[in-house]
């Protein structure tokens, strides 16, 4: 039996079934059936609640895999929470349900594989974790491995291992060097644990959190910077909850750091007439509230910055959030194509984002299109404009 905490129980009943979340949901947009919508899932939850605010295990087992697929066919983009009529924290509920499903072993095969992979290899690619720093050799980046530093650059699995976006790590490193920051990489970085939190594997995520916090704190760093919104979310918001204490460092996303450098005059970017649009990553914009900073950076580069249809808090997911790419790759691809279409229709030269997953997904989609646009990360854009790459 799983007891739903009181506040979340109130929320399940408070859901007005108004449907404001339905049309916004990027998954519902393609699947179309009510049960795949946030409203449908909330109603389902209400129906599988037994007496005394407990999720009825028997009912969950009876509904089995189809139920589980409804909750894993979700990008965790948080748009449902954003438009919620009664301000229900739907992301919190989806997390809790995934946790329950994971505990009961009713999760898609790909999720079990992923969590096993992370548990064993400490990264999401089943690579030997000692090869995590191979990107340094591949890109020729100038990096530091110090025992102590002011700033730790937490690279993250995707940026470290995925060839398409390793240049983001190169860009961030070169920018940190350019402003003479006292920084270092971690000697033994592990996956941030966010994919495990999204899988519902909380206990396993806690192990990773503990290791990473210990590693970061051993450097005495006051600040950790990451270019990955998933890592940012884990380090900033999930770790305090997983570990029951606030780590002794401040967490910043690279866009925040760049914005500070630019506004303080530490970093001067030559303006050009390049035309740009910006895709707000869900975990950075809507969920973490970092919307202004990337725009400060972009506006330092060009005056011809065009907002796409749906931006800021209203931005639409690229399709790769919430582990959807692992659970339902074709659906993730459809969502990516939709979002790419919106961005490309701004008729700009370059699409910019501030997330390795979004950049990777949108760039991949661009290659399948005729005259596909260039998709790059914000840090790459700045490093290029300054002439560091």
């Amino acid at each position: 039996m799983f007891i739903i905490p009181k506040l979340q129980l109130e929320d399940i009943f408070a859901c007005a079934q108004c449907g404001y979340c339905v049309k916004k949901c990027p998954v519902y947009y393609f699947l179309g059936w009510e049960s795949t919508s946030p409203r449908g899932k909330m109603f389902t939850l209400k129906e599988i609640l037994g007496n005394n605010s407990r999720l009825d295990e028997q009912k969950i087992h009876k509904l089995g895999k189809p139920l589980s697929m409804r909750f894993f066919n979700c990008t965790f983009c948080g748009l449902c929470k954003e438009v919620c009529h009664v301000e229900v924290d739907l992301l919190e509920i989806w997390s809790k349900v995934r946790e329950v499903l994971y505990e009961l072993g009713i999760v898609p095969e790909s999720i079990i594989k992923l969590s096993e992979t992370v548990k064993q290899s400490k990264n999401i690619y089943m690579m030997d974790n000692t090869s995590r720093m191979d990107w340094v050799t591949y890109t020729g980046a100038d990096v530091n491995f110090k025992d102590s530093a002011e700033v730790v650059y937490f690279v993250g699995c995707i940026t470290s291992f995925s060839g398409r976006v390793q240049s983001i790590a190169q860009a961030v490193s070169s920018l940190l060097n350019y402003v003479n920051e006292d920084w270092t990489l971690l000697k033994d970085e592990w996956c941030c644990g966010h994919p495990l939190v999204l899988s519902g594997a909380i206990r396993e995520a806690r192990v990773l959190a503990f290791h990473n916090v210990e590693m970061i704190e051993s450097t005495g760093a006051k600040r950790v910077v990451t270019g990955c919104p998933g890592c940012y979310l884990a380090l900033k918001h999930e770790y305090p909850r997983l570990l029951g204490k606030k780590p002794k460092f401040e967490v910043l996303h690279s866009s925040q750091l760049l914005s500070t450098y630019i506004t303080s005059g530490r970093l001067v970017v030559p303006k050009s007439d390049i035309t740009l649009t910006y895709h707000d990553p869900c975990e950075l914009g809507r969920i973490s509230g970092i919307i202004r900073e990337p725009r400060v950076v972009l506006q330092s580069v060009t005056d011809t910055f065009v907002e796409p249809e749906y931006f800021g808090r209203e931005s639409i997911c690229c399709g790769s959030g919430g582990l959807l790419k692992a659970v339902n790759p074709s659906l993730a691809e459809s969502i990516a194509q939709r979002r790419y279409g919106m961005l490309a229709s701004t008729n700009v030269e370059v699409i910019v984002s501030a997330c390795p997953t979004c950049v990777q997904t949108l760039a991949q989609t661009a290659t399948t299109m005729q005259n596909g646009k260039r998709v790059i990360d914000l840090s790459q854009l700045i490093a290029e404009r300054i002439g560091l790459m």
Partner: protein, 475 residues
Amino acid sequence: MTTSDKFLSELINRLGQEYVSVDSLEKLVYAHDFAALPKFVKLLFNTTPDVIVRPKSTEHVTEIMKLANEYKIPVIPRGSATWGFGGTVPVKGGIILDLTGLNRIIHLDEKNGLLTVECGVVWEDVIRFLRKTCWELPTYPSSALSSTVGGWAATGGIGYGSLKYGPFVKNVVKVTAVLPDGRVIVVDDNSDPSLSQLFGSEGILCVFTELTLKMVPKNEAEMPFMANFSNFANALMAAQEVLRLTRPHSLVLRTFGFVRTKDYVESDAYFFGCFNDNRRDVYEQYLKLDSIVNRYRGYLVPEDEARREWEERFYTLRIKKWGPSILGNEFIIPVHKILDMVRYCWQLGNQAHLDVEVEVMFISKDEALMFPLFLCDERKPIRYLMSAAIAKKVLDVAIKVGGRPYGYGLWNFPFMEIAEPEKKRELERMKSTLDSQNLLNPGKTIGAEVMLGLPLPGKLYSTFMDGVWVLRKVI
């Protein structure tokens, strides 16, 4: 192969597997609408659909209706299910016709300001689409972020902008509708049946599939406003004077009665709305509003705050979080009876020990749409059932003072005989002509049926609810 198997296989053959579902989870979530159903309802009605279909065209709807006739299976049309009167809840299983897949904006006649859309288009998409044009919607529902154009045509059709531009029915040129026998007709003001006969028929006479809407040229200026008052009577009088002296796009009055603070008698209130016109007229109207608000000792809030309230206009149920459930009703009432009705709602809330929010949307100088909400908790089933009778009590009095329900559906059907007997006769006549097999949304609006097709007499239902109310006092 049983009849239902045959039906299903033929349905899939004609439409394609991707448009049909018999999944048990799907059946679960399509068995309800906006309102939380008390458990006893499931004893009276078979609310679980047999199959859910998501048509993509008028031709699909026609096919489904023909097949339903052949196999005598009920069809329940459904938009976004944001109406709380049980209009999309099956009462004897059948086919749920989920129309949200018909969601194309077909054509904008830029010259004449006529927009043709499919029935499943959500209002917000229409509003967004029109931003790039020189036209705007005259009226749209308060649930515009999720409700569909076809859904609003089938139900009330009163919302924001109705005060200035009239109800939805006055802003539609023609519609394409599928009749219960599967025939497709194009309906306008002069056709037989006419637009006004089919509009608001709550899905018992036809399924709207395409609608051509009248737009209005975009106004030069838009000025939201909001005014707070220390008591409801002053707010109401000020609102009436605003109606008399200005031409607002919308005017909505809200007040709250809280059991916990005993704040019923002198509850504060506020109204908000918007002027849209040319710049000069908007400015002049705003000056008039300012002097009216001052005269009634109100406080006109700063423009940015008023704009925020206006942007929040679709979020009328924020208060539900404190329930976490709500009970309520919606009815149209003469403006001069608003004060009496609000007091009666407070009285009922006090008796049932429930907090109340009352929202009044003015639809003309003489009439308003009233929406009282009583906060309750469905997790306490006995108390919830007892309190459910409050929705009937409030409507009883509204009708007595000259009001009429905004909709009938499943829950308000007994009131049609009392509130609008002529309309009921007309609907009954049309129902028997157009749907002799009673397949389209049966057991709604003009009469209900319980399990096994037994009729549920309106009087029995009313007496039951009255009994529940009395029982509540005893318990």
